[in-house]
Symmetry: C2
Subunit: 242 residues, 2 copies
DNA sequence: ACCTGAACACCGTTCAAGT
DNA sequence: ACCTGAACACCGTTCAAGT
């Protein structure tokens, strides 16, 4: 299953990359040649080590020993680079094998959970992806697989297409919420607390429903909540008369 | 119903505002005194005229005839200002009256559509709110109302609480997708096209499910799709055994 | 308690000029 | 065709010093 994805990634790389032979001049410290793959690779390293917020065009250029302007040969803008990072990450997402059709529901939840955990490791990327329309080959493969699972569940094309969008949006948003929103952990905690405090102290007369559900409102996300959300959505999608 | 919200907004303003009497010195051009309300008001004007991307701390300070540092007396940071802008906007959201309990489903969809249209007028704010945990009084009132509608539908506190989060998240994301992501309309169109092209040209052998559902994948969002999504989610939430 | 001036530490993107 | 140098046009936030 994994094997099928790699060639697509290679193809994708060629889409934007200008052809360039790796000239081997052995009398130089051999600054490696620029390429879309080299860009994405370096960006991936910086993201893993320091988070996406440090992956700026300037920083990336410095890492590759060139000027920021040179990067625009390989990516249209910073957002496109983020899309490429997502796709690189998705190469590691294990897709379900053929499987029995009756397991479509569980397969769907598992795959979406796996996608979410992958992104939870990079919350700032998830936040960026939330504002993007990814279209890389690995993303398309994920999309295709999700569509197939809904189809296996007897869902017609329209609700399946709209449903996959819905499910991926929620999975991405869940990852985006996790982890440090701000660079500063203290600021982060304060922001998280603001809502908690507002809920905890909400006047029962002014906000009766909040008062009634107070305990559940503060029950954190976690995997249980994600699974619940995905299941509820899948039920709604599968039951759709559209 | 509207009347109940205004006092809360006033209260909210006082939470962070230092007390300050409006000194009336008539021998000066009368630079109006700073206050949280003045900040939010000016930010609202800039947002309406030029979009949220122009509402920077520096620009806002210039508008108020002061330095950027002065703003930090009234807001913790730029994100908190965005939260305040959302809450100011939500003051105009018409909430449903008591109504008959049997209408809870339609009321829910209507209210969420109204919330979405409000935000569609300010897509960049929606994008910012997506990364926020709003907690202003008008947002809490909306949350409270949504909780009440689910409760009227017989949904227990836990799925209701989790469900409202889900519904609001999708409504916000829908608004965030609308309109210009980039300042430049041409860049925007190109980005939108990238996914469309990828789907339209996706190899049927590599992506069979995408090929099968191709027409539906490109069917734009629009209100029909939003209503479908909301309905599907509500069905799933209401049917939850959690 | 608040405001000012000024700095710190950065951004994405473009463009003429070179090779 | 690509890379370089340099600029354009900005950011959020902090902090010492004033009032």
């Amino acid at each position: 299953m994994r094997g099928a994805v790699a060639p697509a990634a290679v193809f994708y790389d060629h889409v934007m990359s200008p052809r360039r032979e790796p000239v081997s001049r052995r009398d130089r410290p051999a600054k490696p040649p620029l390429s879309r793959a080299a860009l994405v690779g370096a960006a991936l390293r910086i993201m893993r080590d320091e988070g996406l917020e440090r992956v700026t065009m300037r920083r990336l250029a410095a890492e590759l020993d060139t000027g920021p302007a040179a990067l625009y040969v390989y990516v249209r803008n910073a957002a496109e680079l983020h899309g490429a990072l997502l796709d690189a990450l998705l190469a590691d997402l294990p897709l379900p094998g053929p499987g029995t059709p009756s397991r479509w529901r569980d397969d769907l939840v598992e795959l979406l959970c796996a996608y979410t955990s992958l992104l939870i490791g990079h919350p700032s990327l998830a936040r960026s992806v939330l504002l993007l329309r990814p279209y890389g080959p690995n993303f398309l493969r994920l999309f295709d697989t999700l569509l197939g699972l809904l189809r296996a569940g007897g869902v017609r094309p329209r609700p399946a297409a709209w449903g996959v969008d819905l499910l991926l949006q929620h999975a991405t948003a869940t990852a985006a919420e996790q982890g440090t929103r701000s660079a500063d952990a203290a600021t982060e905690a304060a922001e998280e607390q603001a809502l908690a405090t507002a809920i905890a102290e909400a006047d029962a007369a002014a906000y009766p429903q909040i008062a009634h559900a107070r305990d559940e409102l503060l029950s954190g996300p976690g995997e249980e909540r994600l699974r619940w959300s995905l299941t509820a959505m899948i039920d709604g999608i599968a039951g759709s008369r559209a």
